[in-house]
Amino acid sequence: MKIVLVLFLVLFVGPFVLLLPFFGMLGAMELCARVGGRLSESLTATLPPKFGAAVIAIPKFAIIILKSIRRNLLRSSLSYLAVFVMVLVITGIWSILTFLDAATSAKAANFKALVTDKFQIPSQMPPSYIGELTREAANLPAGMRADPAKDVMTWSFVGTSLDPDPSKRSQENMIIFFSMDPRGLLNMMDDLEQDRLSPADAKQMRENVAAMQTNIKGIVLSEEKLRTINRKVGDRLKVYCFPGQYKDIEFDVEIVGTFPRSAGRYDGSAILNLEYLQKSLDAYERKTGKQHPMSNRYINLFWVRVPNEDAMRALAESLDKPGRFSTPPVKIERGSSAVSSFLDAYKDIIAGMRYLLVPAIVAVMILVIANAISISVRERRPEMAVLKVLGFQPWQVLILILGEALIVGVLAGGLCTTLAYYGVNARGGIQFPIAFFGKFFIPVESLWWGPVLGAIAAIAGSVVPAWSARSVRVSEVFAKIA
């Protein structure tokens, strides 16, 4: 029953909904052409007829083109839908690829370096490394050094569950925390940097941080995670660490805030104050009289912002000096290189999408347009011939045909990426788990390249049929007809 409903929606309601803006735009364009025609007629009344007539002819041409699109509305609609769907697929692929590109491309200046255990995966470093690594970074020569207050951050991954029984662990009751100093949320988290957020979102993050600082039991979650665990801001809850990791540690946390909705890549994430983790480990030692097995290796990643490649090299040298960081030894790399090595596993998929799938879709799109336009040109050969008889120049005939394809292509591409940009992003991006990214957002550039892609496909697809319409030999067309 459900599948029937879905099929019905996809096959009938969906296309109709997608077509409405197309029809609306066509109508609006025709209205504009008519109004423009009227306006240009009154505006050019004082011009010499030679120029005036040329100006007036433009909206008239536009009306002829628009009427021709309307003439076989089914065919135009099908071309539109085909281009729409294909641009949509390309938009999705492109959004993911640009996002991954940005994540893996080394930005020239001001990048984040990642310090981890040199040999062990997962990386586990003692808490004393926080201070020591920070000091190394802060003691680099001027121009290279990091600001301990703004440029460093550590992550400890803490897996917890709302249910103490590990056998009942599920998506609905699991919370994986990044345990960290809340200050890092303002300066060091990708896409949460204060200057990248809207003023309202930036303020929301500052309040989150303030709340986590006054109440070290405060946690910040995504709205999505709140929904899956069915809690709300202000709720207190008890979470139990996975026995395989922080055995016998539990936290009494209070939800003090959520991530701004624009920070979709943090859907599913949660932040726990590092201080609370430390205090809990200390409390364990006081209570049991022995150290917790994790208490000397709970720092997983150390992030530091460096101004340039030289600074990173200088830091690498000082970390390598004998006797400094020996248990365990550490390595430093660009954050983006770390992401790249994660993504290596997906290299073939990504290359396939980029170099096979996208060109294939573009080619199909061009063929669809070429097919529709050549059928309509073949049907209308006598009409093209009549236009020429009346004195229309070949290029004017060419424009009439190209214009038709161009309008359908640009509208399909433009409406597609516009709807996708606003629609998909408002609904939280594209779900496409790859490496540790789960969500992708459609970049704002799609608003211009959607129409451009549609236009290119339209021109590529219609240039041959339009050229044949342009080259119609009048005497031949009528010799055959008569």
Binding site: P49, A53, R71, L387, V389, G391, P394, F478, I481
Partner: protein, 241 residues
């Protein structure tokens, strides 16, 4: 009609090549058409009537020979010069009307005027005049599909005369019409000649239609075999060169 002829065809040859085959369609043709003349062109199918009409109307170029319309040698023009020349000097009427189906009667008639340097007011006046003349002032916003064959052909005629051309050419304009509509169309052509002094060249298979013309040319295998004025046959051999 004693003036210089408006159309002069001199030593006209036209052949088409289809693959390796060369088809001689018009052979050594000489015709003069006077201003204000209504001329009918008859002959069996394949005799070259349409070909001759197309050449006179500047839709095609002769293989050899000269065609002058007014004082312009159209056989020496380039394709784009011809296109511009056609807009101003030739009005076409087709057997199958060939109106653009998406445009209204008004817009169809307006079409050739889009290529001319006219003000909006002039253009509008000319379109309305032309439609008035063919008595379709009450069908301005009808599309061709909503009109009868005879009405469509009248729109076709309005489109042909709207630019006030020197020459009106019609290729079997009544070929697709019943006799009543055909008569209306022929009366309309008569009217154009009488009141506006238009020169009309009409290809037809219909002897009744041909009767309406003042002069009849008979073509056979690409040669002129008969030239009769107002019912007086005149063998073309005696036609002065």
């Amino acid at each position: 009609m004693t003036n210089k002829p408006i159309v002069q065809v001199r030593d006209l040859y036209k052949s088409f090549t289809r693959g390796a085959e060369k088809i001689e369609v018009l052979t050594d043709l000489n015709v003069d058409v006077a201003e204000g003349e209504f001329l009918a062109l008859m002959g069996p199918s394949g005799s070259g009537k349409t070909t001759l009409l197309n050449l006179i109307a500047g839709l095609d170029q002769p293989t050899s020979g000269k065609i002058l319309v007014g004082d312009q040698e159209i056989s020496a023009m380039t394709e784009s010069q011809l296109a511009r020349w056609r807009t101003r000097h030739v009005g076409f009427v087709f057997q199958f009307y060939h109106l653009l189906p998406v445009l209204t009667a008004y817009e169809n008639v307006e079409l050739p005027l889009l290529l001319m340097p006219l003000t909006a007011a002039e253009r509008k006046r000319q379109v309305l005049n032309a439609l008035e003349l063919v008595q379709l002032s009450n069908r301005l916003s009808h599309r061709p599909g909503m009109l009868s064959g005879g009405q469509q052909q009248r729109v076709g005629i309005a489109r042909a005369i709207v630019t006030d051309p020197t020459l009106i050419v019609a290729d079997e304009p009544t070929g697709d019409l019943d006799s009543k509509s055909a008569n209306e169309i022929l009366s309309l052509l008569d009217l154009l000649r009488e009141s506006l002094n238009k020169t009309i060249i009409m290809v037809t298979h219909d002897p009744h239609a041909a009767e309406r013309a003042q002069r009849l040319l008979h073509l056979e295998k690409g040669r002129l075999v008969m030239d009769s004025t107002q019912g007086e046959p005149r063998p073309t051999v005696a036609f002065p060169r």
